[in-house]
């Protein structure tokens, strides 16, 4: 099981910043499939501080979405089951709350934006209504006040002509507009924490850049941003979590992760970023050889063993735990940990 020492990891600049708004501890999620139990999330633990931007990266299927959804108790069950874990938002554990208390925190203290805004909006309700309906229920707003809130939120995320847009239906907005509207919807309750599950992947580069600028402008908002795109992560995140087959394998400040990755998987991931060759203008993509382990039958040792270039005998039998390596990073790798002690 992975444990992370969270205290004093980030450079504490002010007492305000050190306040943890979200604490996810030992989250375990399973999927019950025809082939057996798939262990999709295996003891994920992380803390997010007020205003902090945390990125979760990893290959497709490593459990990023499952982590976010399970933390909000949104995973459909069956087929999934959140076996264990606590998710504390401002000290309240979501996992133990009844439906009513849970609904008072979801949308108000913590909310989420998804990748595909078109399917994330209900096609038969106006955009404005969907932006304000959560807050409207919680604060018992009048219809006019709810519309005003929606217009205000749309204006804040940079949607032109917000009064008109609020009255329109999701299919009438362009892709970038819809994505902004979804962010407005997630922020309407003025949450402290925002989850974002690859919200820019489906957008073209220009729109993607605009959305990132927008998100960066929310200084006080803590964000957990899931992404494939390490370029996006570099420009946005303070801290990065690297996941592999449901495990956190490395965590640290974004510069340290990018400049001196300690886990061989992180290093491989960084090498696989498509780079633009300055001379020819072509993209070269180095993919990581091999594939992640079968989640239905996880190996007893390190999950990265099969694909690892630096593995030692111990990696086949003992699963590495997350330990501090260097000043700022934690890594689940026997080799990296041994090297750290040796140096």
């Amino acid at each position: 099981m992975s444990t992370v020492t969270v205290t004093s990891r980030i450079g504490l600049s002010s007492p305000e910043e050190s306040k943890a708004v979200l604490k996810v501890s030992d989250l375990v999620v399973e999927y019950h499939t025809a082939r057996g139990i798939a262990q999709a999330v295996n003891g994920v633990t992380f803390t997010v501080h007020a205003g902090e931007k945390l990125a979760i990266v990893g290959e497709s299927g490593c459990g990023k979405t499952a982590t976010l959804l399970a933390a909000l108790r949104l995973l459909p069950s069956p087929p999934s089951k959140t076996v264990r874990g606590s998710v504390e938002v401002d000290g309240t554990d979501l996992m133990t709350l009844g439906p009513k208390a849970l609904n008072e925190i979801r949308g108000r203290d913590i909310s989420i934006v998804f990748q595909d805004a078109l399917s994330a909006f209900n096609p038969v309700l106006t955009v404005g209504r969907q932006i304000s309906e959560g807050v409207r229920q919680q604060r018992k707003l009048s219809k006019a006040a709810a519309h005003e809130l929606a217009v205000d939120m749309l204006a804040r995320v940079g949607v032109p002509d917000p009064d008109q847009r609020a009255k329109q239906y999701p299919h009438q907005l362009s892709g970038g507009m819809r994505q902004r509207a979804m962010i407005a919807m997630a922020l309407a309750g003025e949450p402290k924490v925002l989850f974002a599950d690859e919200p820019t992947t489906a957008l073209d580069v220009t729109v993607q850049a605009q959305i990132l600028d927008l998100v960066r402008s929310f200084k006080d908002l803590a964000i957990v941003w899931v992404s494939h795109d390490l370029g996006v992560v570099a420009g946005l995140a303070d801290r990065v979590i690297v996941m592999y087959s449901g495990f956190v394998v490395e965590e640290g400040p974004v510069e340290d992760i990018f400049h001196s990755p300690k886990h061989p998987y992180t290093a491989a991931l960084l090498r696989s970023i498509p780079r633009t060759d300055e001379m020819s203008g072509t993209h070269e993509l180095v993919s990581i050889p091999g594939s992640p382990p079968d989640l239905v039958a996880l190996p007893a040792g390190c999950p990265f063993y099969d694909r690892c270039a630096v593995r030692v005998d111990r990696c086949a039998t003992d699963r590495p735990t997350l330990e501090r390596v260097g000043d700022t990073q934690t890594v689940a790798c026997w080799v990296a940990q041994a090297k750290d002690i040796a140096s």
Binding site: E104, R106, R108, S111, A120, N122, P123, V124, Y169, A186
Partner: protein, 341 residues
Amino acid sequence: MGILIFALRRFLLAIPTLLGLLIVTFILANFMPGDPLARLLGDVGGSNPETVAAYRAQWGLDRPLWEQFFIYVGNLLQGDLGQSTFTRRGVMEDLLSFLPATVELGVAAILFAGIIGLALGSLAALFHNKWPDFLVRAIALLASGVPVFWLGLIALQVFYLQLGWSPGPEGRLSSRVNPPPRITGAYTVDSILSADSVAFWDSLAHIVLPAAVLGAFFLGLVSRMMRASMLDVLKAPYLMTARSKGLNTRTIAQFHVLPNALIPTITVVGLAIGGLLAGAVLTETVFSWPGIGRYAVDAAKALDYQAILGVTLLIGFVYVITNAIIDVVYAALDPRIRLGS
């Protein structure tokens, strides 16, 4: 208002369809098997060429088909559908007197099947793969699999003869009860409007069984469609969004699940309206219900050319109009249809 413009457009579009219906029905009626004239004039008159010719001239049957058609349309526009040979009354008059009974029965059947079908379908989806789901699926299969005629006889056997819960196949009212004054033509409605509680309870008791029998097929269809589309909606990403906003169950059910689940259900229901009309003919026969179905059967038996033509046109008209109404409801529910993409 988008929906009003949509409705206006949709009903204008129904006009060419109705015109097409008129042409096709008119031509088909001319190729009807059997010779109405021979039937009408009897063996003696029918074998006398002079009588036949005089008769044809009197009714305009000696003119070219297209001319007959324009005369027919001209009369139709003045509310005249010709004479029925077996009731000896105007066909329009006949239709208007038989129609309310059928409309009342049809509406009762749709209400019965719609309300129970939607409830059963939703229940099945909410208890997916648990016993309520299996039960509803079995009911749906039975309800839409059993022929109306047979179901009507079984229902009478059980609820009238065995249990005595329902009146027998004696039409819309017991013979001892006077019909309420005609306002809408629907006895249940008219008896309420004229505060006649005896007629109300009696007409209600008479309509339950035939409406249930006629609505059975619909009930099966609606519950199956509702179940399927609700299962889809329950998996939809926007429902996860709704939950992530902290909406309570009631709001989610009312504004997110129901409208979206109703859209495909309404479409399928609209397509099945034709089946309901066909079922009405059989149900009315089984229950001696004095409606259009009974009139149609009698007209067909008598080879009553004008009456058959009139009934066919009426059924086609009802079909086209109900479909237009369904389309408007569909558009009211779905802004993607109403406002275009």
